[in-house]
Each structure stands twice: as C-alpha cells, then as structure tokens.
Amino acid sequence: MLRRDRWALAGAITVAVLGVAAVAADLLTAIEGQDPYTYRSEVLDPQTGGPAGALGGVSGEHWFGVEPLSGRDLFAIVVHGARTSFLIGLAATAVSVVLGVLIGAGAGYLGGWVDRVVTWIADVFLGFPYLVFMIALGAVVPSSVSRPLLLIVVIGFFGWPSIARIVRAQVLTLKKRNFVSAARILGASPRQVFRAELLPNLWAPIIVVATLSIPGKIGLEAALSFLGVGIPQPTPSWGRAISTAVEWVVTDPMFLFFPGGALFLATWGFTVFGDGLRDALDPKTEVRR
C-alpha cells in the first residue's frame, strides 16, 4: 500500500530515520566522539561567544556545529532531542489512545446519560485553553516530579477527546450492525461485546488517529520546552534548543536550522504517513499517486 503512495512512503522513511537516530543516539554520538552535556569553550569565538568557524562551527568533529556560549555539540543535542521528542510524543499518544478508546467506546456503546456527559466533557476539553493550563501547571508542580513524566501525563490527558469522538462515532455505527446485536442477544456482557466484537473493528481508525495525533504532541512538547516549562536543563530538547537559537538567529542561523529542521521533519513525516495510512485503511478515499 505504501508503495502506491509515494508521499506516505517518504513520510514513513523520515519517521524511521529519526526513530533510528533517537534509539541509537548514544551510538551515533560515540561515533562522532561527542556527547550533549560537555561544555567546550575552545570551539567558541571568544569575542562573540558564538561558534568559531563557518556555518555555526560545522566540521568533521562537530557535524552540526556547536551551541553558542556553551560549546556543546549540536548533533548530539539533536539526536538526543529526538529521543526526548519521540518518547514524549509516543507515550503521550498511548495515554490518549487508552483513555480515548475506553471513554469513547463506553459512551457510544452505553449511550444515554453516559454518552451525554462524555460528549459534554469532551467539548469542554476541546475548547479548553490547555496551553495556559500546562504553563501554570509547570510552574506549580514541584521540581521533584519528573518533568518528562509530567509532560506525558498532561499532554496525553488533554489528547483523549479527539480520539474518544472518533471511537464513539465508529461504535455508534457498529452498534447498529447485527453482529453486535447477535452477541447481546446471546447474553454477552458489555465488556465481552467490546473485546470480541467492537475492538477488532476499531483498530484501523484508532491507528490512523493515533498516528495523526503524534506530530501535534511532539509539537506541543517542543512548544512547552520553548516556553521554558517543558524539559529542564540539561536534558537535550528540540524546543529548548529552538528557544535559545532564536536569540542567535542573526549571527548563527545554523543553530536554529538543525533542531528546527528536525522538528519539522518529524511532524511532517508523521502527518503524511498518517494520511497515507488513512487512505490505505479506508477504501473510500482515493490514493494520491
């Protein structure tokens, strides 16, 4: 299916390359001979504090150049940042999917007041200024709480309504099909109906919405880190790197280019791959050639 949709294939390859880089970050930086934590003032221009050499200090030793003021290796920051982004993006999506599927399927299958309450809460959540909420939360929660864990839980929690909506709509149409009635007539409990009859028919839409929601979550993590309430120092993060790079954009544009480009590729890759998945799993949409 991906062979017929070149954009989706390109997206899948991009995601795979970034994923491998994230998993093998330690190996890659070891090959380069660097790490993302060591301060190295010898590679900086003592006059400006910016990187010595052209293109932000790109060289055989520092593949993407170095960070201004600290001299940390930018390639190491980007690949370790990929690890952070992917970990938070995927884990938060998993949280959203579990919550969204359970809540959405429950609302669709049980109907009645459960459905009304869930729909109402989902609408409230979808209109909720969650960015402001998360910034406030980041300031309030004591620093002893692990930040990556906090980000995963909070981002994942705010992601359930969009998944619940789609699952609920799907369950509403499935519920009218006779095979669900057949199971109910036989005395199957809601849990048994959900596991045996509904869930197998829900996987395709769930995978598609989940894939399409990953880039949003990666972007959200980057945005929070950009604003200074996400991943704290010294853990490498694309969002915080971009935030710092903005101040240096005139003198050292490459510092913005590498983490920004990585963030762009990750979100773009997941989006077109998700689009392709949807086209492949839903025969009603026509595949772009």
């Binding site: 006779n178 095979f179 007539i185 036989l186 005395g187 009859e197």
Partner: protein, 550 residues
C-alpha cells in the same frame, strides 16, 4: 462494457414505445450495469463498447452536455430507494419544479401549474407540494420519484427495482400506477427487477440475464410458460410462490366474543383496536401475554398475546411498521417491553437477572435478515460460529473446533471455510453461517427475522429448504418473521397476521393463507404477485375488486 472483468457482455435488447420490457437476473448478473450505461452513470473505471440507440441516436457517443439533456428529458429514471432519491431539505413541490424547469423554459407560475398536474398524474393530492420527504410514506415518495421521472414526458422510463423497498400492498399500487402511466404517456418502460412476480404483473417482454449475458428473451407468457434456457428454468423453479387454494366450502366464522370471530382454531378480529385472544396449550416454549412496546408516545406493539409450542413454527406476518421486529426485540431482550410478559418455558424473561438471564438467553437463537451485517467482518467464520459456545459452553480447543465443524456441516458448508472472513463468502453462504451460529447451542426457540429476504431467488429457496430440514431434525420452536406470505406458507404451522401493532388474525397456516377472515389479510394476500402472467392477471383483478383504500 468492461470493468476488470466484464460485468456485462454482448447484451442486446430493444423496446418499443408503450412497451414494458423487464430485465431480470440475480445480483451481479449485470442488469443494472447495462441500464446505467444508457444514462452514462457508470463509475469512471468502466468502459463501454457497442451502441445504444434512442430513437436513432447513439447514447454512447453523446457528450456530457448532451447526456445531461437526455437524462430527465428523454429518459426518466425511477430508483429503488425513494427516500434517498429525494433531497430531504427541500419541499416536494420545489424539487419537482426544479426538474420541470431544468429541461424547459417555463415561468415560475407554469412550473407550479405543471407540478400540480404531475402530482395528480401519479395520484397524489396537490397539497403534497408543500410537504417535505420525511412527511410522506414510502409509497407516496415513490410516486413523487415517478412524477419526477415522467415530468418531461420521456420516451423511455428506466425503473430499477422500483418496488423492492416497498411493502407488498404498496408495491401493488405502484405497479398499477406504472401500468396506468404506460398507457397514458406512451413511454417505453425498462423494468429492472429480481422479482418474477413483478415481471408477471407488469411486463410485456422479458430479458433474462445471467453472469452478464442475456440467456433468453421473449414475450413474458412464452418465457414463463415454456422457458427454453436451463438457467431460466432453474430460476423460475426456485421462485417461492403462494399456492392456489382449491375452492372449498367452509362453514362461516362465528362470533365467539365481542369483536372476535372464529372458525375452529382460526381466529380473527372484526373490530379495530383488538388483538386476537391467545390460548397457549400445554407447555409452550414461548408465551407473550399482553405485550406492548412503545417508542416515546408511539405504540409499536399494543397488547399482543402469542405463543409458540414445542417444535412448532409460528409465522409472524406483517408489513413494515406493523411491530414484528419490535416483538422479536422484546423476546431477545434488545427492546424493553413497556407492558406485558415474555415467558420462555415458564420463566418470565423480564424478571430474570444476571446468570439466570444469561442462561435463558442461551436458549434463544436468532437469525437476522441481512447476512452481511450479522457477521463480524474481522472475525473468521469459525470464530463467529463458535461465539455462542465460547459465551455459554465449556467447550474449548479441539472439542470446540469439532463442534464448529459439525455445525458447518449441518448447514451444508464446507469446513474448509473455517478460516475465511465474511467478505470472502456469498450472501447465501453468510446466511448459512448465521444459521449455524443460531443453532450452535441447540436452542429451544429460534427467532428468524426475514432470514431470506436479502437473498437472491435461487439462494432463497435453498436456504428455506435447509431451514426446514434443520427444524425437522432439531425440533426447535421457531418464531419466523416475514413479510413474504409465500415464504411463510412454506414453513409455518401456524400464522399470526400483525397489523399496526395488533394481531388481527391467527390460525393454522393453511386456513389463514387460503381463506382469510380479516380484510387486511385478504388485501395482503391479493397484493402478493405470483410468477405466472395468467394467474397474476386474475389475481390483479381480484385485488382491484377488493379496493386498495384502507
């Protein structure tokens, strides 16, 4: 005409003005594809070769603009599902006027005048103009669709299964309307149908299609009287038709209680708002007492009493909206009754809870109408058949697999289909799987809700035979729900006729279906077409004599 494989090939037929040509065939025979090609309404992946001449002009060579003028102009189209053929947000009058004005330069006043004319032509009052589609019944909507189709006095009217979605009494009225229009408008009618009774009723000539080819064509009387092709013969032999009752002199029914008449075990009501009284014998499997089902303020079932004895098949007959599916829902527990009792072998189902209720549910099997939606598309056939056993039995592993094979064998399916998925099976095979699942727990009561009405004629006959032999072998009590009297006649021991939520007549199948007591049953029987042009003409006259107003 070709998709990847040709859907229809080397098809040729012709029809003259004022003639009704019926194209018959089972699903996938290419009958609709051929007609759609005339209007240029095939999907973009289809290619068409050959010629289609309308008054000397080849339709296949027309440009898109010319085709638009032909559609709704020289060719009118009547669709199967009237509800989806009309736009729900516009009034009937506006939709008709739009068709009128699309093909002629008429002023608003003239268009309005014409819509009134058209409505009266199809037997609707002019007040229907102000109605929205959801305010009309299925039969009225189909009249509107027909009015649209004939709005510009087409020379050809294509009717694709025009009565399939309608009740049998409404079907008779629509067929009468088409017959009337043919005479008045001098249009040729191309009737596409799978119903041999409809063909016998309306058509002059018939084209029989099979696997995309025309296997036989000729005048209806010749083809139906002496079919030459093997396929036509088997198709006609498979048609389930009502038998002709031998004329017998029966004693008149006597009034046994106010508003209720009886002739032996055959009971009918003579007053509206009554249901026939029910006298369950010893040890019935299912007893419904004073059952009512309401949806909001609408009473779908109103004080119905019925019973099904051991090993007995009760045919529950009624048209859409008569409450027959609500009764099935009340028995299976999908619908909560608003009053009355549902008794299964002496237990009141509505009082059971938890384990006892689940055990009781396991004693009821259910076969659904639409085999496509009654099987989980993501479950294998073996998994679907095994699902009742997994829920209720203790069979697991090899013993379970053996039982599934036994069940597949009982419904005459090869065990090699075990690991297949529903979409890989034909409609008839899927329905057999549905039956295997329903009998998996050896139920005491089987509910069959229109189990054959979504199937092709030849498949329908075979599934009915299977059903009958299974019933004879397993001796389950059966509530057999159908709108098709001929199907009920084949299977049922007793028949109950449901009309507007009440049982108006009940008794032995032979008596009810040959010497009905209630006027509604009489109308229902007279309206059912039979696949014999000569007998159908007699039946039609009898139906007209009954009058079809309610």
């Amino acid at each position: 005409m070709a998709f990847d494989a040709p859907a229809a090939s080397e098809v040729s037929y012709s029809l003259a003005a004022g003639e009704v040509l019926a194209v018959v065939g089972e699903s996938g025979s290419g009958k609709t594809v051929t007609a759609m090609s005339l209007l240029g309404l095939l999907p973009g992946t289809a290619t068409v070769t050959g010629r289609a001449l309308l008054a000397g002009r080849d339709l296949f060579t027309l440009s898109a603009g010319e085709l638009r003028a032909v559609r709704g102009g020289e060719i009118g189209m009547v669709f199967q599902e009237p509800m989806t053929a009309l736009n729900p947000v516009f009034r009937i009058g506006d939709q008709l006027a739009e068709v009128v004005r699309a093909h002629g330069e008429r002023t608003t006043a003239q268009a309005k005048q014409r819509t009134v004319e058209l409505l009266s032509l199809v037997g609707l009052p002019s007040t229907a103009r102000r109605k929205y589609p959801h305010e009309l019944s299925g039969g009225q909507l189909q009249r509107v669709v027909i009015a649209m189709a004939v709005a510009n006095e087409p020379s050809l009217l294509i009717a694709d299964e025009p009565t399939t979605a309608l009740d049998v009494t409404v079907q008779a009225e629509i067929l009468e309307l088409l017959r009337d229009l043919r005479g008045r408008l001098d249009a040729a009618i191309l009737l596409i149908t799978h119903d041999m009774g409809v063909v016998a009723d309306l058509a002059d000539r018939v084209v029989v299609m099979h696997d995309g080819r025309v296997v036989e064509q000729g005048p209806v009387a010749d083809v139906f009287g002496a079919p030459e092709h093997e396929y036509t013969r088997s198709l006609l032999a498979a048609v389930v038709s009502l038998s002709t009752p031998p004329p017998v002199d029966l004693p008149a029914a006597v009034e046994v209680s106010p508003g209720v008449v009886a002739r032996g075990a055959h009971v009918a009501v003579t007053e509206p708002d009554l249901s026939t009284p029910d006298e369950p014998g010893d040890d019935p499997v299912l007893v419904l007492t004073g059952l009512s089902v309401s949806y909001g303020r609408f009473r779908a079932v109103d004080g119905v009493g019925l019973h099904v004895g051991r090993g007995e098949v009760l045919g529950l007959v009624g048209e859409s909206g008569s409450g027959k599916s609500s009764i099935a829902g009340a028995v299976t527990g999908l619908v909560a009754p608003s009053a009355g009792l549902v008794g299964l072998t002496g237990q009141d189902l509505s009082r059971l809870r938890g384990r006892a209720l689940k055990r009781a549910r396991g004693r009821i099997g259910m076969v659904f109408q639409d085999p496509a939606s009654s099987l989980n598309p993501r479950a294998t056939i073996a998994r679907s058949v095994a699902s009742p056993l997994l829920l209720h039995g203790s069979l697991r592993g090899a013993a379970l697999a053996r039982r599934v094979d036994e069940l597949l064998d009982a419904v005459q399916l090869s065990p090699s289909l075990r690991e297949r998925y529903p979409h890989e099976l034909s409609g008839g095979q899927r329905q057999r799987v549905g039956i295997a699942r329903a009998i998996a727990l050896d139920p005491e009561l089987l509910i069959a809700d229109e189990p054959t009405s979504a199937l092709d004629v030849s498949v329908q006959a075979r599934v009915l035979d299977l059903f009958r032999s299974l019933q004879a072998e397993l001796r389950f009590a059966c509530l057999f729900i159908s709108h098709d009297l001929a199907v009920v006649e084949r299977l049922a021991d007793r028949v109950a006729v449901l009309y507007r939520g009440r049982v108006v007549e009940t008794g032995p199948a032979g008596d009810v279906l040959t010497e009905p007591l209630h006027p509604y049953t009489r109308r229902l029987l007279a309206a059912a077409p039979v696949a014999d042009p000569v007998r159908q003409r007699e039946r039609r006259e009898a139906w007209l004599a009954l009058g079809h107003s309610e």
